[in-house]
Symmetry: C2
Subunit: 335 residues, 2 copies
C-alpha cells in the first residue's frame, strides 16, 4: 500500500480512508485513486485491514439446513443484498445439528463480524450458547424465533397462513387433518400446530392430527414412510391432508402415488394434499402442490435492513423488534 501510494501520488492515510469508504474522499481524489487502481491493480490485504478495524464488514448468515432448497434460496437472495450494501456475506449451514450451530457461531466470533443473520435450528438449538453469542454480536433472527434472543426477529405469520389454508380447504371440501412430526425439529411446527387447532375450532371442527414418527431433517423420508403407514392403516380421518411443511408433503405425495391414491381436486380423486412454505419443488410434484407461500423477500429484506441499521447506529437497540409477515395462498392441483 505504501508502494501504491507513492506510485499513485496519494498519501497512504488517504488511500486507507478511500478503501474504508470511497465516498469519504473528494471526488477528484477518488478519480485519481481509481485511475491508479486500474493501472497498478493493487488490492488491500484483507487480514491486515481487519486486524486493526474495530468493526469488520463481514456479515454472517447462518441457516439451519442448506441442503434444504428453501434455505438455499434464502441465502441466494441475501448474498447480493449484503454485497450491495458493501458487506461481505459469510454463509454457514448448521446442517440440522445444534452443536454445529454453536460451532458456526463460534467460528464467526473469531472473524469479528459486524453482524449476523441467524435462522436458528429452533427447538433443538443450544439456547444458552446462542443467547450468549447474541449478547456479543449484533444479531437478527429470522425464520424461527427464540424468545428474547437477538436484537430483532422477522418471520412468517403462521397463525394467519395456516388459517388461510385451513379455511380454503374447509370451504372447498372436507376439513383437513394436520400431518406433522411428533417431535418436529423446527419450532414453526409448534406454531402451525396451534394455529391449525385454533382455525379448526373457529370453524366448528374438531382438529385431527396425523403424527409422524421420526427425527432429524429428512422430512421427505419421514413423509414418505409415515404416509405409507397411514395409508396402509387406513388411518386418514378425512380425505384432506394438510402437511406441516412442503417437504413432508412431497414425501406424503410420493406415498400416495405409490399406494395408487389419486391426489387432487374434483371427481376421480381420493385425496387432497396441501403443504406450507411454497418450497422450490412444490410446483413439480405430481400433482403440483397447493400450499401457502411465505413472504421471504420481505422477511430476509427486513432482517438485513434492520441489521444494517443496528450496525450503522453503532449501538444495540433497547427494544427487540418483531414482525410477522403474512403468507399467500398458492393454489395448484393437489388441493
Amino acid at each position: 500500500m505504501e508502494e501504491f501510494a507513492t506510485l499513485s501520488g496519494i498519501s497512504r492515510p488517504t488511500l486507507s480512508k478511500y478503501f474504508n469508504d470511497p465516498t469519504s474522499v473528494r471526488a477528484s481524489t477518488r478519480e485519481r485513486i481509481e485511475a491508479a487502481l486500474r493501472r497498478y491493480e493493487y488490492k488491500p490485504n484483507v487480514y491486515a485491514i481487519n486486524q486493526n478495524r474495530q468493526l469488520t464488514r463481514n456479515i454472517g448468515i447462518v441457516v439451519p439446513f442448506l441442503a434444504d432448497p428453501f434455505f438455499a434460496e434464502v441465502a441466494r437472495g441475501l448474498e447480493p443484498l449484503c454485497a450491495q450494501s458493501g458487506f461481505n456475506p459469510i454463509l454457514l449451514s448448521s446442517h440440522g445439528d445444534p452443536d454445529r450451530e454453536v460451532e458456526n457461531l463460534e467460528s464467526l466470533i473469531s472473524i469479528k463480524p459486524a453482524g449476523v443473520l441467524l435462522a436458528p435450528l429452533g427447538r433443538r438449538s443450544r439456547k444458552e450458547d446462542v443467547a450468549a453469542f447474541c449478547r456479543d454480536i449484533p444479531t437478527v433472527l429470522f425464520d424461527c424465533d427464540i424468545e428474547g434472543v437477538g436484537d430483532a426477529f422477522f418471520g412468517s405469520n403462521n397463525t394467519q397462513s395456516v388459517r388461510l389454508i385451513v379455511e380454503y380447504l374447509s370451504r372447498t371440501g372436507q376439513p383437513p387433518a394436520l400431518f406433522e412430526m411428533r417431535n418436529a425439529p423446527n419450532p414453526n411446527a409448534n406454531k402451525r400446530h396451534a394455529a391449525y387447532e385454533k382455525a379448526m375450532r373457529d370453524l366448528g371442527q374438531e382438529p385431527m392430527f396425523l403424527l409422524a414418527e421420526g427425527s432429524g431433517w429428512d422430512f421427505e423420508e419421514v413423509g414418505l414412510r409415515e404416509g405409507r403407514r397411514l395409508i396402509d392403516a387406513n388411518a386418514l380421518p378425512t380425505d384432506t391432508v394438510l402437511c406441516s411443511n412442503d417437504r413432508l408433503a412431497i414425501g406424503f405425495l410420493a406415498a400416495a402415488y405409490e399406494k395408487g391414491m389419486r391426489v387432487g381436486i374434483g371427481h376421480g380423486h381420493a385425496l387432497r394434499v396441501a403443504g406450507h412454505d411454497d418450497h422450490p419443488y412444490a410446483g413439480y410434484t405430481g400433482p403440483a402442490l397447493t400450499t401457502v407461500s411465505q413472504d421471504y423477500d420481505a422477511i430476509t429484506g427486513t432482517s438485513l435492513d434492520r441489521l444494517l441499521s443496528i450496525i450503522e447506529a453503532g449501538r444495540r437497540p433497547t427494544i427487540r423488534e418483531t414482525e410477522l409477515f403474512d403468507g399467500t395462498l398458492v393454489m395448484r392441483r393437489s388441493a
Copy 2:
C-alpha cells in the same frame, strides 16, 4: 497472546508453534498449554495469524449452484472432511452466473486460501479467468472439467453411467430417447449426449434426441415446460425417455403427471422415464425415479485428498491427474 504467555508460563513463540500445529510441541508442553487454555479461554486473532502466514489454512469450496440440493449435499459432505484435516472450509456458490464465479474466485484470492475445490459452471465459465486463478492457487476441479485447468480433475464416468442406463432401458423395453437441453449450461450434458449416442449405436439403435429450449439452471421448469410441449405435440418417438439429469426428469415427470400419462414399468403404463445423478429428491417423485447415481463420496473425497496432498507437498504437481468414477444403476419405479 503475550499476556496469555506470561499467565501460562509458556513462551510466546512456543504458543505460536502450538497454534500452528499442536503436535509440533512436546506432549508435556501441550498439556500445560491446554490446561492454561481451559483456565483463561484465550483465542488467537484470525486476522493477525493469517497476515503473516505465507499459507493460510483456508480451503475454498466453489460450487456452481447451491440451490441445487445436489451441490448442497456435496458441500455438506466436504465441510466436515476439511475440518477434520484441520482446514477451514469456505463455501461459495456461483448461482449459475459466470461473473459470480469469477467474483468468488477473486474474493478467495484476497483471503489467500491454501487451496480450492472448484466445481466450475463449465461451458459458460470464463475460462481464461478461471485458468488464471488456478495458476496462482492450488486448485482441484471436480464434477465438471475444464481441460488443462487446475491441478487435477475428478468426476463421473459419464460414458459408463449413460451406457449403463441406456443398456438397462433397452434390455427391459423400448430404447430410450434422450431428453436434454439444446443449450445446456452444464458441460456434463455434452458428454452424456455423446455417451448416449455411442451407446445407442453400439446397440444397433438410432439415437433419438428430444431437445428442450431454455437457458439457465431452472432445470425443473425447463423439464416441465418442454415436457408438456413434447407430450402435447405427440413428439415422443418411443415410450422411454432418458433425461440428461434428474432435475430435468423431475420436471418431465410433473408434465407427464399433468397430462395424465402413467409413468412406470409394466402393464398400464404409457411411459418410462429415467434420469441421471440420483438427485436427493429422486426417491420422492411420482413415481420414484429410476436413475444412475454418481459416486460422489469418491469424487469429493478423492478431490480433497488430492488437494491436501498438493498443499502438503508445498509445490504444484507436474502432471494433471484425472480420474472418472463409475456410476451405479438405481432402479426405482419410473423405468
